[in-house]
Amino acid sequence: MSLGDILGAVFSFENYGEILALVQTSVWAGAVLGLLGGLVGTFVMKRDLAFAVHGISELSFAGAAFALLVGTDVVAGSLVGSVVASLLIAFMGGRAREKNSVIGVLMPFGLGLGILFLALYEGRAANKFGLLTGQIVAVDTVQLQLLAVTALVVVLVLVAVWRPLTFSSVDPEMAVAAGVPVRGLSVLFLLVLGVSVALSIQVVGALLVLALLITPAAAALKVTSSPRLTLVLSIVFAVVATVGGILLALGGRLPISPYITTLSFLIYAVCAVTGRVRRRRGANGRVLAAGEKERTTPVAA
């Protein structure tokens, strides 16, 4: 394959308008998932759960592969896998280190199960590949509705527990002292995360789900510490990556996920450099007004 052929495969925009009309549903699905990923991702970062996302996605993949094998709904299969993984992590992993080892044990087991089910499956190879790398072009109107409704439920749940969830994520000891049900919120969030992972897998696949649930929020945190700005940027980055990735992918002959992950990564790279430059300049928001200076000499009591 010559360089020209490769470029042609990556970018070619013949009949772009016609194709776009055909895949409108997919673009909407991408936007919904971007919104969800960016939103949930901010809490994933606050709670340091990046590894859990990966663990959940592997079991979700196993669930989807099983559904494919027995011929039931793949989305339902991946939801079941996700929720089982979330509950296992929630109830078996107490502290951070314990949690990580539970996830580390679950992850290869899930992936192994998934490969087993796919090996037994005798249908189209594209279906198999799609579970791992995403297949958003296959989204139809019914699926989009399901996606939108589930995403809406997740958003409403998060809005309902927003403040105590934030409190228990960033400052758990104080949250306990203030009477926040930290344990219950932890289980609830893992369930929310499980559902979000299962939905995201439909677009980017089990292997690349981190690009939706981690990278945008991590990028946002590189450039700001303000909770509101983090949220806005994270959602914007995720939507730009998914919708932008889908629109770019329409021009070529390749799967969608590399476009999404690459966009996501580029956004992160730009943010990381920006953050580093800013930090080096010492711009962290400190104001050194004459009257408000930190006292440096002891004061007699």
């Binding site: 927003w162 403040r163 934030t166 000891e173 203030a178 510490s225 007004a289 002891p298 004061v299």
Partner: protein, 300 residues
């Protein structure tokens, strides 16, 4: 502000009943203990930390809890927070059974935040105002105004927008004070808040805590292993050691006789330049190694 439930409590109280006079009831409410323990005991396994503790901490009182490692100081505070249940007896904080966090402000040990914690100084303080409420924050402007007020109180205005992970230990503890007093608590529970701070910040933070109880009548329960930084403010002391305890003013408790009796060995207490110096404490570390007792460690 009078809490109606408190008045109910007084009417139901088995102690000398209140008269019908409103003014007298109000005086009594103001005098109602901020912390009340009756027959309180706490044990870990077979080892009692303390037993039969009856205690009233008055509003506006600065109450220090002292003792060696493993004596149950931190567990005492956790019992007041409702995190650790008592083995026997009852505990009430701000006139209510513990566990719901109402009326309580908590100042933890200084423990640094990760450098990339997505939280600025003002966000940390705001959590103390409404972090425990459900839903999203709708009254952003009034919360922001209250945060500014609290930051000014603790002298943290200049770093309001700095990520908490980039602040020094002393700056973080000032924010902890602001966060703890944000809900206008009746009781401030402080768990070694001066630990790992330098002398300036120890003074600054304890002055802030003292100001809060003087200006707002907040009771302060202050767990520490070192009384000197707060000696000027302390009204009474609870000294825990070896399953025994003593309550009283510092002059009564911090004496050679009392501490020797608590520890069961000769401990010399003297005063040098207004500081209390204790000599001859059983060395906690050596003690542990000699006995190899698994219960000796302070529970997490």
């Amino acid at each position: 502000m009078i809490d109606e439930r408190l008045i109910d409590d007084l009417w139901l109280s088995p102690r000398p009943g209140p008269t019908a006079l409103d003014s007298e009831v109000m005086t009594r409410v103001a005098d109602a203990p901020a912390v009340r323990l009756r027959g309180a005991s706490l044990a870990f396994g077979a080892r009692p930390l303390w037993t039969g503790l009856d205690l009233d901490v008055r509003p506006g009182e600065f109450f220090a809890v002292l003792g060696p490692n493993g004596s149950g100081k931190t567990s005492f505070l956790k019992a007041l927070l409702g995190v650790v249940p008592l083995t026997a007896g009852t505990v009430e904080v701000a006139g209510r059974p513990v566990g719901r966090g109402e009326g309580i402000g908590y100042i933890p040990q200084q423990r640094s935040f990760a450098a990339d914690t997505p939280l600025r100084a003002r966000d940390l303080v705001a959590l103390g105002i409404d972090g425990h409420r459900w839903g999203v924050r709708l009254n952003r402007r009034s919360v922001a105004a209250r945060v500014d007020e609290l930051l000014a109180t603790v002298g943290a205005g200049s770093y309001a927008r700095v990520p908490v992970g980039q602040l020094s230990g002393g700056e973080q503890q000032r924010l902890r004070v602001a966060q703890a007093i944000a809900s206008r608590p009746r009781v401030l529970l402080c768990d070694e808040p001066l630990l790992s701070l330098d002398l300036n910040h120890q003074q600054a933070v304890s002055r802030l805590i003292d100001a809060q109880r003087r200006e707002h009548g907040t009771a302060v329960v202050f767990v520490t292993h070192e009384i000197n930084p707060i000696l000027d403010y302390v009204d009474r002391v609870l000294y825990l050691a070896d399953g025994k305890f003593r309550v009283g003013e510092p002059e009564e408790v911090m004496t050679t006789e009392v501490l020797s009796e608590l520890y069961g060995s000769r401990v010399e207490v003297s005063r040098v330049n207004g500081r209390i110096v204790v000599v001859g404490l059983p060395d906690a570390t050596t003690h542990h190694h000699e006995h190899q007792d698994p219960h000796e460690k302070e529970p997490a």
